[in-house]
């Protein structure tokens, strides 16, 4: 009945899950390095990995931190607002047929409009500063959270809703004590998608207008043919995105362990 902790074959699997991707990664880097050297490809077209490592050193640590902080700040603020706004919207959608009919088409229209296309307009309307970038990030992140939270709330077992009604409990408690907790697994899968979208949103905004941030840095570097530096920025961006994703996953593991899929074995 109760599943044993990973042992024997399971541990071997865990090991190979780390081991195999590392082998593949090292192999790709090696082929890349060898190829660039062998065919003498200029570094402004495709820099060798060794040149990219050098690219990190072309910029001071302080400048790196400045750029990372600019992107991180916008991504997190947009993400934060998107959670704060999406959950109440989801509650409204799940609670009321009227609200659902009224709001849902608007949400779909917003989601269907490519944010990259809207970004320049938002920058013009909202002017300089973080505000337009945060709004762009918000627009790209909120939809998955709204949809998943609504779906989760609707997926609450009808028996529990009947239990709540049979107790004549206040509707607010039906939402906070039954429906929203039931939506937690759904909410977290959306939060994981949205955190990586938040980084994309921040970068898109920086491409349009910014004087700092990793997105800005990449664009700036390529326009001066400092391609190794641009690649370095790209890796920083990927690392940032992966770290944020892992932090969200960690929060779920630490505080909502019950919402994780059970290990079957």
């Amino acid at each position: 009945m109760t599943a044993a902790k990973p042992s024997g074959p399971a541990r071997w699997l865990t090991d190979s899950r780390v081991f195999l991707p590392v082998v593949a990664f090292v192999a790709i880097i090696a082929v890349w390095e060898a190829g660039v050297r062998m065919f003498e490809i200029p570094s402004f077209l495709l820099p060798a990995p060794s040149r990219i490592v050098g690219g990190f050193g072309d910029v001071t640590v302080l400048r790196w931190i400045e750029h990372v902080w600019a992107t991180l700040r916008v991504a997190l603020l947009g993400y934060f607002f998107s959670i704060v706004v999406s959950v109440p919207i989801a509650v409204a959608l799940a609670r009321s047929e009227l609200m659902s009919r009224m709001l849902y088409p608007i949400l779909v229209v917003i989601q269907s409009t490519p944010v990259v296309a809207v970004a320049p307009i938002i920058i013009v309307v909202l002017g300089a500063g973080d505000t337009p970038r945060v709004v762009i990030t918000f627009l790209i992140t909120f939809f998955p959270i709204v949809v998943s939270t609504t779906t989760g709330m609707m997926a609450t077992p009808p028996e529990l809703v009947e239990l709540s009604r049979s107790l004549r409990a206040p509707v607010a408690r039906e939402i906070t004590q039954i429906r929203l907790p039931y939506a937690v697994p759904y909410i977290f899968s959306a939060l994981k998608i949205s955190i990586t979208l938040a980084v994309i949103g921040a970068v898109v905004a920086e491409f349009v207008a910014a004087e700092k941030g990793i997105g800005y840095f990449i664009q700036f570097s390529t326009s001066f043919f400092k391609v190794p530096q641009a690649f370095a920025g790209l890796f920083v961006l990927a690392a940032l995105s992966i770290s944020l994703f892992q932090i969200v996953a960690l929060v779920q593991r630490l505080f909502f362990a019950w919402s994780l899929p059970r290990d079957t074995g």
């Binding site: 009947e162 239990l163 004549r168 004590q177 039954i178 019950w258 059970r262």
Partner: protein, 262 residues
């Protein structure tokens, strides 16, 4: 001593028609007249979709009859009444709460914070359903039978007069199911309740109840009421009594015959 004089539940010519999503009217119940005395254990058997669950939801006040009236201690039920506990087919415990918090859930849900007396009551109930020592476990750590025990404790927390049970043991394996039946009888002896027990199992109905209502296919109505005269307390020994087998066989033939006619 159980009080079996007072009438706890009375259905007066009750009908219930509901509208499906497609817009069609479906008559689930028709002309149901019945009386259940206080502390009586009553089983309802009938073919699938005969409105057994509708019967139960009417008593819980979750739906209103479209004809006639349902009375609880002489007063028509117009909203979910106090003093009614429900056990569903599935345990439906909240997966983020421990066993203790699940049992306390009705208090927290209805009134806010549970008091010390409620906690003491919850501990007593947990011990009574045989889950002592499992208070801090999470539902997913328990077997199906244990989860259903916790759900029974939850239904008893507000000390209801009426206990509604909607095929509570049908998701359990045969052995656990039998064990839970005797367990329920023990609980009922210690805390007399008016029990409305819906089941598909003829044996379960005969073994547990004082009276059995046999329902017809949709629109459901009571076609026969059987008095189960078997001596209490019932145990494994009861299952070998010829009376029990006769009654079960009769009930089974009654249900099968109607299915053939339909």
């Amino acid at each position: 001593m159980p009080d079996t004089e007072t009438v706890a539940l009375r259905f007066r010519d009750v009908g219930h028609t509901f509208r499906t999503r497609g817009g069609a009217d479906v008559q689930a119940l028709s002309r149901v007249d019945l009386e259940i005395r206080r502390h009586e254990f009553v089983a309802v058997v009938g073919p699938s979709g005969c409105g057994k669950s509708t019967l139960l939801r009417l008593v819980a006040g979750l739906i209103r009859p479209t004809e006639g009236s349902v009375e609880l201690f002489g007063r028509a039920i117009t909203e979910p009444p106090d003093g009614v506990g429900i056990v569903f087919q599935k345990p439906t415990l909240l997966p983020w709460l421990s066993v203790l918090d699940n049992v306390l859930f009705p208090i927290r849900h209805k009134y806010g914070r549970p008091g010390d007396d409620h906690k003491a009551a919850a501990h007593d109930l947990i011990a009574m359903v045989g889950l002592e020592g499992f208070e801090d476990r999470m539902p997913e750590e328990l077997s199906g039978g244990m989860q259903q025990r916790a759900a029974i404790a939850r239904a008893l927390l507000l000390d209801p007069d009426i206990l509604l049970m909607d095929e509570p043991f049908s998701a359990l394996d045969a052995l656990t199911r039998e064990e839970m039946g005797f367990e329920l009888q023990g609980i009922w002896n210690r805390r007399p309740k008016t029990v409305l027990f819906i089941t598909h199992s003829v044996n379960e109905a005969v073994l547990l109840s004082d009276r059995i209502f046999v329902m017809s296919a949709r629109p459901g109505t009571i076609v026969e009421t059987l008095d189960v005269g078997l001596p209490r307390p019932r145990s494994v020994d009861t299952t070998v009594l010829p009376e029990m087998h006769e009654m079960a066989a009769y009930l089974r033939s009654r249900l099968l015959k109607r299915d053939d006619a339909a």
